[in-house]
């Protein structure tokens, strides 16, 4: 599998990729151990792709944009993988990318690989499998890995935390940017794209000015506190994904971002920081799971939680009791 993934034909790589992803999405411990071995073996061959995060609310036109961008990049000689993070897909049966016909032309292209969201329940689990899949795609030689997410909740932050450039798609509606600011997503955006700009050019221009102003204000604190000059001001671009207008300007901005980030080591630093944060996030999730599966904890969890809820036990005292039951150490 490793050999097919690294050195196979495009077709053989796609088959090996699908098999490897199935392995790392498996819940069987022996599969998990194999997947860990595979990841460790492939790691020296990862890291060369550009990791592009794309977010935006439903209806903003993400699929149309990603298909147009993917075909544009293939036209430039690149190979493109598209992954999705959608923790709700286990419930809905896969709302994003579940139907590959959404990106029919791109998904049929041999230089593209499209994978729907893992449907393993928690956002942490879905994000983990997507991060691992990014590594597999890089080992298989894809040049650009696009990670798409629907613009709600914490999944956007998860995608910003696993990509080199995080791009937010917006509609040209006044006030729309406030929702993105509220979700904490606007401040994570390296690029904001105003899609469907052709429908109402005047509104798009207004939205661009408003979002630019918001980005300046959001960034002001950091810039005022920073010792050095900022290397990148988040940009706002207009686009019509449907008419494939604005793609060249978008990719030129991405390339300039990438050049600047690579030149001064920020790209490597960002990836290093993401990897360490990811490690600690998974450690936390594992610790929590071990606690909940501990029989000593399970015996007292329900009455302890009830006592906190009805106000007969202080939360901090309850926490110490749960920890003592778990760690078997009453002095902690």
């Amino acid at each position: 599998m490793i050999d097919a993934l690294l050195h196979g034909t495009a077709m053989a790589q796609r088959r090996a990729l699908a098999k490897a992803i199935t392995l790392l999405e498996s819940t069987r411990p022996d599969h998990r151990a194999q997947a860990d071995e595979l990841l460790t073996a492939l790691l020296p061959h990862t890291g060369k792709a550009f990791r592009l995060g794309i977010s935006g609310v439903p209806g903003v036109g993400k699929s149309t944009f990603i298909e147009a961008l993917g075909l544009h990049l293939i036209g430039l000689g690149q190979r493109v993988a598209v992954l999705a993070v959608d923790p709700s897909s286990s419930v809905s049966g896969g709302s994003i990318l579940g139907d590959k016909t959404r990106m029919e032309r791109l998904s049929n292209h041999e230089r593209a690989y499209i994978r729907p969201s893992p449907s393993s329940g928690s956002l942490g689990g879905v994000a983990e499998k997507t991060r691992e899949t990014i590594l597999l795609c890089e080992a298989a030689g894809f040049d650009v890995v696009i990670v798409e997410t629907v613009g709600v909740g914490q999944s956007e932050i998860a995608v910003a935390n696993m990509t080199d450039l995080f791009c937010l798609l917006q509609l040209p509606n006044a006030g729309d940017e406030l929702q993105a600011i509220k979700r904490g997503v606007m401040e994570r955006a390296d690029l904001v794209l105003i899609n469907k700009a052709d429908l109402d050019p005047a509104a798009a221009t207004r939205a661009r000015a408003q979002i630019s102003a918001a980005l300046r204000l959001l960034g002001w604190n950091e810039r005022a506190g920073a010792q050095e000059a900022p290397h990148w001001h988040p940009q706002v671009l207009e686009l019509s994904a449907l008419r494939a207008q604005g793609l060249e300007a978008f990719w030129a901005a991405v390339s300039e971002f990438r050049r600047l980030q690579s030149a001064d080591g920020r790209l490597a630093a960002r990836r290093q920081q993401q990897a360490l944060a990811w490690m600690w996030e998974r450690v936390q999730a594992g610790l929590q799971q071990a606690l909940r599966h501990n029989p000593a904890v399970q015996r007292i969890l329900e009455p302890t939680t009830r006592a906190v809820a009805d106000g007969s036990l202080a939360a901090s005292v309850a926490a110490r009791r749960l920890l003592a039951a778990h760690l078997g150490n009453l002095s902690n």
Copy 2:
């Protein structure tokens, strides 16, 4: 101590309170065990105060406002405790409330009790001690417990998570509200006060309109999704703390909020939710601490972290290794 705290004179209660707080701020395990017993014994006598959170950036006039409000409430026959959450105080030697002369008239009043921020380092630790101190103050019969924090970082969210009403002080500067929205604080505000409104009444009126619009937009999603009519729309009031103008209107709004929240059980539900979230937060912190103190983890932590940082080990594999070392269970 319990008897003095519950039934002593105001003076005896203040002394007992100071002793009890010292106990729960101690790092000695036997003190901690005593503090837990004390909390559990006092818990039936807690919960009757109104817990008021106050936040705002440095210079917004928090001390002046809290002193004016405290004296106003004492004039209404109430007893007022003022606590602070400032995780930086261990570094700075106590920037908030460290100097009681900041609220000289209030701190000298026998119906008031002012306590600077615990200086135990992490925000989680500081917040925990403040939450416990709220309970002690309630047992000692204070009617209103004000928890103040400086308007930076996560300490505002911590205070919003431990109070019945969270109030944000703002200056009448256009665009200032964007910083509060960015920090995730505006959406947690039940009341926004525009202080120093007397200095530039026109600017204060503009700021009020802007913040009201922002609050409507921020709340729109929740309201659109909610089945029931909202019980409370966050209000924006103008104030001059220095001239003690607007305090009656502020307290009338607080009282109306309290009446509405108590009538339909929302106050109890909010406190219950806060207590459970607090319990889990402390459990997480304790789990993390136990992991870091485990010799089996300490042996591999540094090389594992380094391997993730230099890209020779996948973060998810590293997380599983740390967990296996900690839990002694390689199948996890």
